[in-house]
């Protein structure tokens, strides 16, 4: 029987890619292990090897095709004695993965197109953008890179260090191109020693440089958390204001996809607990850019929490010479009258989808994107709660002592008399992140839980 060659998933979060090049043509004989094609993801170019021997019977996706979904049939391999006539139809369409839980698998099976992602809606509410500014569709990945590049051009004290940031062009390709432009002095590959290089970064900051320390993910920053908390955050205070650490610690935070307990954790509440730090959690590309530029310029240590799932998603970014957003200001993302949904980072995805569904149910939700966890812009939250009298929070982190817990406590203190219902929290479940696709989905918040929480507080 002819064997389908499928578009491979080359990373945990890959949903589609470009079939860059075929290295074989129809009729060629291949042996297992032969490189037959090159696939470009947004992170890298990867080679595809034949898994079996046979003859290439048909190439169903041409070289140069973009946005090829994972698991689409890209070619068909014939066994000895078969010919092209034995190939069935349905070329190019994604086929269901073989696992029984295929429907549940978030990324591997039949992905919804990323374009379904809502574009940033109310960015014009940021006063920093003049009316009529041209908007350019940009991925979060590019926005982060552009922010670093712009700041490195304008301030030669700024440099970036971390694992694979230079020659590899970034484990998640956030630092792509920076080595070429700025050279090895300012784009520095470190050994795999988070504790050590975080400390080296803080020392360099204390001496007046402006380091950007990239952690491959914030899970690994736990190795370095002593330097972030005890050295970076506290030195200004302990020195009576004589010296601090103007440094940015950045990298992906939270759950990616199917990477299990040790690689799927949100640290917003952890760092949000520490005076002397600023903690930034952008959602879209414009915020990622404007806030990262602000973080690099900030004279204080900033923990900048990104999300791997968001890296490849596109949003409008204003075309401006110097687009900088203030740290510590939440944004009203959607105006509504019935309930306030407070969230940040990837939590915005749930909020936006839920608000759309709730609208159909006659519930008008207001969405506040915190954007910064510390300092926490509670004024914006309280103002909204005084209007809607109801509030829920969403975060992927654990419930106990989480960001939602803090917001809930502050609302109780500041706006108790305005509340018509207790504040409810939608959070990650109180368990280590499981690996199995169905369990991972259960462990994370989802739109249904958001809707359920909103209905509970609105008594609808």
């Amino acid at each position: 029987m002819p064997t389908d060659i499928l578009m491979p998933a080359l990373s945990p979060t890959m949903e589609e890619g470009t079939l860059a090049k075929w290295l074989v043509k129809e009729g060629d004989n291949v042996a297992a292990g032969d490189v037959i094609a090159e696939i470009e993801t947004d992170k890298a170019t990867m080679e595809v090897e034949a898994v079996d021997e046979g003859t290439i019977g048909k190439i169903s996706i041409e070289a140069g095709t973009e946005n090829v979904a994972v698991n689409s049939v890209i070619a068909v391999l014939l066994e000895e004695g078969e010919d092209a006539s034995s190939i069935g139809s349905g070329d190019g369409a994604p086929v269901a993965a073989e696992a029984p839980a295929a429907e549940e698998a978030p990324a591997a099976a039949a992905p919804e197109k990323v374009a379904a992602e809502p574009k940033s809606e109310t960015i014009a509410s940021d006063p920093a953008i003049p009316a009529g500014t041209e908007m350019v569709s940009t991925t979060v990945r590019e926005a982060l890179r552009d922010a670093m590049a712009e700041e490195m051009r304008s301030d030669d004290r700024v440099f970036v260090m971390g694992e694979e940031v230079a020659e590899y062009q970034g484990a998640y390709k956030i630092t792509q191109g920076l080595l070429d432009e700025f050279g090895a002095k300012r784009v520095i590959d470190t050994p795999i020693t988070e504790h050590g290089f975080a400390g080296v970064g803080v020392g360099a900051a204390m001496a007046g440089l402006r380091p950007i320390v990239e952690f491959m993910t914030f899970n690994f920053a736990m190795q370095a958390i002593d330097q972030i908390v005890n050295s970076a955050a506290k030195t200004l205070y302990m020195s009576g204001g004589q010296m601090g650490a103007p440094i940015v610690f950045r990298g992906p935070n939270g759950a990616a996809s199917r990477v299990g307990a040790q690689h799927s954790q949100c640290y917003a509440a952890w760092y949000g607990n520490v005076p002397g730090l600023k903690v930034v959690t952008p959602y879209g590309a414009a915020d990622a850019k404007g806030l990262l530029k602000a973080a690099i310029r900030d004279p204080n240590p900033v923990v900048f929490l990104e999300n791997e799932i968001m890296y490849g998603q596109s949003f409008d970014v204003p075309k401006m010479d110097d687009f900088v957003l203030p740290i510590g200001k939440a944004r009203l993302h959607r105006s509504g009258s019935d309930v306030t949904i407070v969230t940040f980072g990837i939590g915005m995805k749930y909020a936006i989808e839920a608000a759309a569904e709730l609208s159909g149910m006659g519930i008008d939700a207001e969405i506040i994107d915190l954007r910064t966890i510390r300092p926490l812009d509670m004024a914006t939250v309280i103002e909204s709660v005084k209007k809607t009298n109801r509030c829920i929070t969403i975060e992927e982190g654990f419930p106990q002592s989480g960001v939602g817990a803090e917001i809930s406590a502050q609302i109780m203190t500041e706006a108790f008399d305005y509340l018509d219902a207790p504040v409810l929290r939608v959070t990650g479940k109180d368990v280590p992140m499981p690996y199995a696709a169905n369990l991972e989905k259960l462990a994370l918040p989802n739109v249904a839980e958001v809707i359920e929480a909103v209905r509970a507080v609105t008594y609808k």
Binding site: G196, V202, G203, G276, P299
Partner: protein, 357 residues
Amino acid sequence: MAQAAKKPRSKSVAKKTSRKPAAPKTPAPLDFKKDEELHAYREMLLIRRFEEKAGQLYGMGFIGGFCHLYIGQEAVVTGMQGALIEGDQVITAYRDHGHMLACGMEPKGVMAELTGRKDGYSHGKGGSMHMFSKEKNFYGGHGIVGAQVSLGTGLAFANNYRENKNVSCTYFGDGASNQGQVYESFNMAKLWSLPVIYIVENNRYAMGTSVNRASALTDFSRRGCSFNIPGIEVDGMDVRAVQAAGELAADWCRSGKGPIILDMQTYRYRGHSMSDPAKYRSKDEVQKMRAENDPIERVKQRVIEKKFATEDELKAIDKEVRAIVAEAADFAQTNPEPDPSELWTDVLLPVEQGEAV
């Protein structure tokens, strides 16, 4: 041992190694001139008297928390400081009073920080273990064992980045030498040829655990072997030996050869902190060290022998030092506590202010 007999082989090995820069050897102690001996005497005596006074103030309740005295180790910072030039940075852990005085920080400001007063170097917000002086290039004063080693490596990184000739003097103890981040830092320092002098103040006890009970390899000069960082053993009780090693190490760093380790063999007379009764060693051991190897006494003997000064002239120095320390202690006891409003300052810098310098 069998290979030792094969002469041709050992020859070829010798040839190979001769291409590498010669590994530095422990230099002979410097031949201090009169003013150098007297300067060292005065500097060490200031640290000794300061620490004795700090111990008294602790006992009287003026100093709280943890207080780690430097008595016995004075030759290390005093000798090292003699090897430094303007702009070189100093960083250490929490046994830091001696380093600050050696860096030229005001005894009054240091003592007032120990008592938690408003004119202490950190306005009373740092305390004994967390003090800094941007002006004197003293980068702390750190309470976490080993953390200062990565930070000090970062200071050296900044020197390298700015392409200046400064070196980072990064001090740590025999106890900190076993921390993981120390080796992470060694690796990066060598990899990037950073100008950092790693100064191990081996005072033989990691808190209450003797070096033999805590360290698999007690020759700290060899702790950089895995990274090809050279190291030398130094008599840390002889200020001339320390300064000779310091000058060698500083030259090594300034000439672009990267990091170097100095294994300072020293001794602390007091407990780990004021609350340590030091039951883990005998009184005789301490007494023997004081009697035979005291860094200040050794200078004093040479000064008298070489007739650089008379007993009376040395006593006059002692008197002058005591007066400075008494003034610092008086200041530290009478200086007001920080204003309550100070609680809320220096947490974050305003964004407009720019850099924290």
